[in-house]
């Protein structure tokens, strides 16, 4: 994007929203065109109005320390070397003697510590996106420029350690310098003239590249949840039905290593909680045998379910989606046959359907990078590590119930279920925050919370947060429900209530209400209920509990609940109650 294009984008009318996204751009230099580019890139990415404000320039740490918590929804911070010590920029004439170097490193360490503290504090109230120094260091070191000297390396190490340290905060997102290197070559970054004349150090293409990646960090797209892969000439090279289980390959010797890399990549996704399934027109027994090979890199335990038969791929995909209980928009389908890709895409237009570029090493490499962008997430939660297990458990539960033929009460009684309720108000509970913003079906009103609103809500002394962890003999489900509300004497007002669809049909929602009445000694619960196009399961629950379809302002008294609630068999544990 060039500057004229950015200005043209900003000339167009912004979408009207009640609440614009308020971004504060903090940097030690005059933000000038960086601000323009950031607004334009955000406008391109986000379907909402965006405001980008800037603070005082020159003292980055001071600006961050003075930033009021309520000022913004997101903070974008661009650090350059001169923010660590002015002598690392070109506007300062503070001295580049060899005797100055130890002092420059020392003061950079102090400045980094101050910045770290300010960023951590800011991240308590809003997400913070951080860009570490992007410009070349000036030629102040005694070594020739092709040789890295001790002090230069110490400065680079300092920035690396600083970034690694703050990246552990769930609300802090660090811009990936490798990604920036790809779009903005180092020699095309510093504009000496505008730095000295206008205090703006970036050449325009570099300003656009930094702004683009910052906008992507701010956008923080929701990662996809599942990947469905073909087998022949995709997960491995060769047609299993033709060459047999020992004939398919994924190794360097047979020049099929990229398939091994693809398997390794899918294993990495699976370990991060991404669901992996197979949809293959193949012989089921042969596929089972192939997955028993000792050298296979993607283990069959990482894959669920396997749809291996000769029916249409779209039918396989339909069954996989049902088993996973997620929508097509959250899934990527990969197959080497363009025809199969087209068939699935026709059935599921919202699904990302990609032809596997068999035999094209570079294209497969590019595909892996693209997939990382689809599935990348900042934090791997406990729920990620048990997701596949819990989906297998849910299927086992359904099958077991169908096979038992008994009543639901009989079945739930034998499920050995236990529920752990948590009442600690932890703003850093990213799983609870994620559930509120991503759950659609069992969702009280579809209301989403910004990071800042979430933290403000939890800081209210009258508010409460109840989280629900569940497990039974079929496996753990992890943290699957969240209730957010306020206590008003003997009355509770529930403003958000979400439960993962994986937890349906276990009466966890009933046990949750019972626990709320008990913990807060409440006589009545008021729900900020709103019907949405997707919260049918929640509507059904209320209809069952109240005996009539719910309307806005649903209330439930303790006596009514006691009368209407079915039998509950869970073992209950309360934390921080």
């Amino acid at each position: 994007m060039n500057l004229v294009e950015a200005l043209e984008i900003l000339k167009k009318d912004a979408p009207e929203n009640e609440h614009p996204l308020r971004v504060v751009l903090a940097c030690g230099f005059t933000p000038l065109h960086l601000q323009t580019f950031l607004m334009a890139h955000l406008r391109k990415r986000l379907p909402r109005r965006v405001e980008v404000k800037t603070g005082l320039f020159g003292d980055l740490a001071g600006s961050l320390e003075r930033l009021p918590a309520s000022e913004a929804d997101v903070l974008a911070v661009v650090i350059e070397w001169q923010d660590l010590d002015p002598r690392l920029g070109i506007r300062s004439l503070g001295g580049w003697r060899t005797t100055d170097l130890p002092d420059i490193v020392k003061s950079a360490i102090q400045a980094a510590a101050r910045l770290e503290q300010a960023l951590r504090r800011a991240s308590e109230s809003m997400p913070v996106c951080v860009c570490t120094p992007t410009l070349p260091l000036p030629p102040l070191f005694s070594t020739p420029t092709q040789r890295a000297g001790e002090y230069e390396l110490q400065l680079r190490q300092l920035v690396g350690s600083f970034a690694a340290s703050i990246s552990r905060e769930s609300s802090i997102r660090i811009l990936n310098s490798q990604r920036l290197d790809e779009s903005s070559p180092m020699p095309a970054r510093l504009d000496v003239a505008t730095e000295l004349m206008a205090g703006f150090p970036y050449k325009l293409p570099h300003a656009s590249a930094v702004a683009d990646l910052l906008a992507a960090l701010i956008q923080n797209p929701v990662p996809k949840k599942g990947l469905i892969t073909d087998l022949d000439d995709t997960l491995w090279a060769g047609i299993l039905g033709e060459v047999g289980t020992e004939g398919v390959s994924w190794n360097i010797e047979q020049h099929t290593h990229m398939h091994g890399l693809y398997q390794q990549f899918l294993g990495s996704l699976a370990s991060a909680g991404v669901l992996i399934a197979v949809a293959s027109k193949n012989d089921h027994a042969l596929v089972e045998k192939a997955f028993e090979r000792k050298d296979i890199i993607l283990s069959k335990e990482s894959v669920y379910p396997f749809e291996v038969h000769w029916s249409r791929k779209s039918e396989s995909v339909q069954r996989i989606l049902k088993s996973w209980n997620i929508g097509p928009e959250a899934v990527v389908f990969i197959d080497d046959s363009p025809m199969e890709v087209a068939e699935v895409k026709a059935g599921f237009p919202e699904m990302e359907c990609i032809a596997f570029p068999n035999n094209d090493y570079q294209a497969i490499w590019d595909l892996l990078r693209r997939l990382r962008d689809f599935f990348g997430k900042s934090v791997i939660s406990e729920e990620d590590s048990i997701r596949l297990k819990s989906i297998r458990g849910a299927d086992a539960l359904r099958e077991s119930r169908a096979a038992s033929g008994g009543t639901l009460d009989d079945f739930l009684q034998s499920a050995e279920a236990s529920i752990q309720f948590g009442f600690g108000k932890q703003p850093g509970d990213s799983r609870a925050f994620e559930l509120i913003n991503k759950t659609n079906q069992f969702n009280l009103n579809g209301k989403q919370l910004s990071d800042a609103a979430w933290k403000t809500y939890l800081n209210d002394p009258a508010s409460f947060l109840m989280t629900v962890n569940y497990q039974d003999k079929f496996g753990p489900l992890g943290k699957i429900a969240v209730v957010l509300g306020t206590v008003e004497g003997k009355k509770l007002r529930v403003e958000s209530w979400v439960m993962s669809c994986r937890a349906f049909s276990r009466r966890i929602e009933h046990q949750s209400l019972q626990q709320l009445f008990k913990t807060f000694d409440a006589e009545e619960i008021w729900f900020d209920y709103v019907a949405t196009p997707r919260n049918g399961p929640l509507q059904e629950f209320f209809a069952g509990l109240l005996g009539v379809p719910p309307n806005a302002g649903v209330r439930c008294s303790r006596a009514d609940f006691r009368e209407k609630s079915p039998s509950l068999f869970h073992r209950v544990e309360v934390m921080n109650g």
Binding site: L3, E8, T194, F200
Partner: protein, 80 residues
């Protein structure tokens, strides 16, 4: 209006979106309140992009009206 003038008007329009083409052709630092130092630096950057020129910020004090900018760009564009 020749092609050069059209391109110049487009550049001015991206920096001063509220001005009509007619107003742009008579625009000057005095007549356009939005023409402050930030707008001047942005205008120079836009002109550099559009015409592939290297404009020194030292020349900014001379670029105080559409007419002056047009004269400057015509001179340096033909020289480059």
């Amino acid at each position: 209006m020749d092609e050069m003038e059209q391109r110049l008007v487009r550049c001015f329009s991206s920096v001063f979106p509220d001005l009509s083409a007619e107003q742009i052709r008579t625009a000057s630092v005095e007549s356009v309140p939005a023409w402050d130092s930030l707008a001047a630096v942005t205008l120079v950057a836009v002109l550099q992009e559009e015409f592939g020129l290297q404009i020194s910020l030292m020349d900014l004090p001379d670029l105080v009206s559409f007419v002056a900018v047009e004269k400057y760009v015509r001179k340096h564009n033909s020289a480059s």
